[in-house]
């Protein structure tokens, strides 16, 4: 039991990795919704890039 829950054990390393992946996923979904909120037309017309950023 002690070995399974130890902070170096494979179980806790896996849990940590999974939680990090989950955080990355929610961050990435957040980025997408944020972008779509600002550029709703991009789903149809593609990404608009102003000339100054080229």
């Amino acid at each position: 039991m002690q070995a399974t829950l130890d902070s170096d054990s494979p179980l806790s390393v896996n849990i940590n990795t999974a939680l990090e992946e989950l955080a990355d996923t929610s961050r990435s979904v957040g980025e997408l919704t944020d972008y779509l909120q600002r550029n709703p037309g991009s789903l149809v017309r593609g990404k608009y890039v102003p000339d100054k950023d080229r």
Partner: protein, 218 residues
């Protein structure tokens, strides 16, 4: 009619034709390999191989995005449409900062927060980043508060670093200016860790430094 529409879709002048991806990805860089160690004491303590715990690093939410953020005015941010960070900036910051500290203190034992409970840490470095972006008038700005704690979590030293650099010409000007600000912060923190360690565990070679400190102070 259908034929006309299909032709329009397939030709390159159609708005639905594939568009090239102009995205550019940037990344921070650690201190250059050729740079000399900060000072001789840093080398002197290298043999004791300090274990440094880095984090937690608190990063402002407005920078936790992949678009490169520029401060257009004190109260306005500008998100680039095509310039993006190669990885989330807070993670990039933490990794490059760890790398810098590792090089400056000449230790390979760097633990990233959260480390296992039983890990022995000599010094923990907590960073609270306030600003880390370039401004539209060509300056990069890093403002960060940092705390050095001992292994038990007691505060040993707290300070704030403000670094600024001129954004060079070219695409990578901003990321290299920010990298150099981060290097400045790393140097200040590493210098302070070196000094704290020298005071706490004086070794024979540093006695002369201590004596000279006293004579200057007296």
């Amino acid at each position: 009619m259908i034929v006309v529409c299909t032709c329009a879709l397939l030709t390159s002048c159609s708005p639905l034709a594939p568009q090239p991806d102009h995205s550019k990805f940037f990344i921070l860089t650690p201190l250059s390999d050729g740079s000399a160690p900060v000072s001789t004491p840093a080398v002197a303590i290298s043999n004791s191989s300090l274990t440094i715990g880095i984090g937690p690093i608190d990063f402002p939410d407005y920078l936790r995005r992949l678009e490169v953020v520029t401060r257009a005015s004190p109260n306005q941010l500008d998100l680039s449409a095509e310039k993006r960070w190669g990885e989330p900036l807070d993670k990039n910051f933490a990794r490059v900062f760890s790398e810098n500290i590792s090089r400056l203190l000449n230790t390979q034992q760097i633990e990233k927060y959260p480390w296992p409970v039983r890990t022995h840490i000599d010094y923990q470095i907590e960073v609270n980043v306030q600003r880390f972006e370039t401004t539209s008038d060509g300056q990069s700005q890093l403002t960060a508060r940092w705390v050095i704690k001992d292994g038990a979590g007691t505060d040993l030293y707290a300070s704030e670093t403000s670094a600024s650099a001129q954004v060079g010409p070219g695409e990578t000007g901003a990321s290299s200016a920010l990298s150099s600000d981060l290097a400045t912060l790393s140097r200040e923190v590493a210098d302070r860790v070196t000094e704290l360690h020298r005071r706490q565990a004086p070794v024979n070679t540093t006695d002369s430094f201590r004596l000279s400190d006293h004579s200057v102070g007296g």
